[in-house]
Amino acid sequence: MRRFAIPAVAVFVAAGLLALLAFGVAHQGTNSSIDAKVARGDYPVAPGAHMLLPILGSSGRESLADLRGKVVVINVFASWCDPCAAEAPILEQEQRQLVKHDATILGVTYLDNSSDSEQFVHQHGITYPVVRDVSGNFVRGFGTSGVPETYVINRQGRIVALSREQLVGDWLQQTMTRVLAQSA
């Protein structure tokens, strides 16, 4: 019996290490289940709604829950990202329409330093609120793997549309027309 004790311990330890590795990898991976649910119309509740995030250029904090009742377009961006700069005018133009319908864009900076983000906001004349996700915990809940990404949250706090690439054409305008009509 003692003869098998050491190999058994070695196998047990190796299995434990593999389980740990699998756990780590699973938590690093992107969450694509949101995309699938949105695609089939089974709109998931926006994650991390009560997570307080620092407001860019301010000492205050804001959460998605603070905007409950509004249609919210979350745009994840970074100042160093060229596609983010390219879509900034589209978002700002849309914001001017959204404020008339009790809706707003919420910029979320990710993988960026605050001074560069502030400069970006200033350069592009962004008027919508911008918060910082320093840890990345908020955007990771949405399965964010890079920038830019955009999520549309309806008045019930559910994700009803998303784009994991640069906004092109009139995707945002068409989506918002549909979502605002549904929640009117």
């Binding site: 050491i6 330890v13 970074a78 160093w80 990202c81 993988l111 960026d112």
Partner: protein, 163 residues
Amino acid sequence: MIRIARRAGATALLIALIAAPLALASTTAAAAPRASLTDIESDVMCTSCREPLEVAQSPQADSERAYIRGLIAQGETKQQILNNLVAQYGTAVLGKPPAHGFNLTVYVIPPAIVAAGAAILALTLPRWRRRTRAAARAPAATAPALDPADAQRLEQELSQFRG
């Protein structure tokens, strides 16, 4: 009066001679080494590409480098810069993750594996050595004895050869 002045002058000179190296030493100790981009780059990550910043080539890596250069220009020490980077990019920016939560595995598992390996060797090596020694001490295996008839026949044949 002159003697007192001379004595006071000598005392002041002595104090100055003793104090000067001490003051120099304390200044040197207080001044933290000046941070360098090369040094910091090796300790931090490009957070978007998940590579060490020293090898990363991406717009985010360039932005991070520019930010570090700015902090160096402001005269911040390496530790202050690292703290600042964590405040801006989160703990993912650190090459060595902080030792809490799941990150503890990085610090605990490798030494545990080495310790377990050493323990296994410590247990098994003496046993292997004992077995080897016991095998060396055991008498060599002998051939089975011949029965009397065969022994007699062998002796006869050998005697023929001996002539």
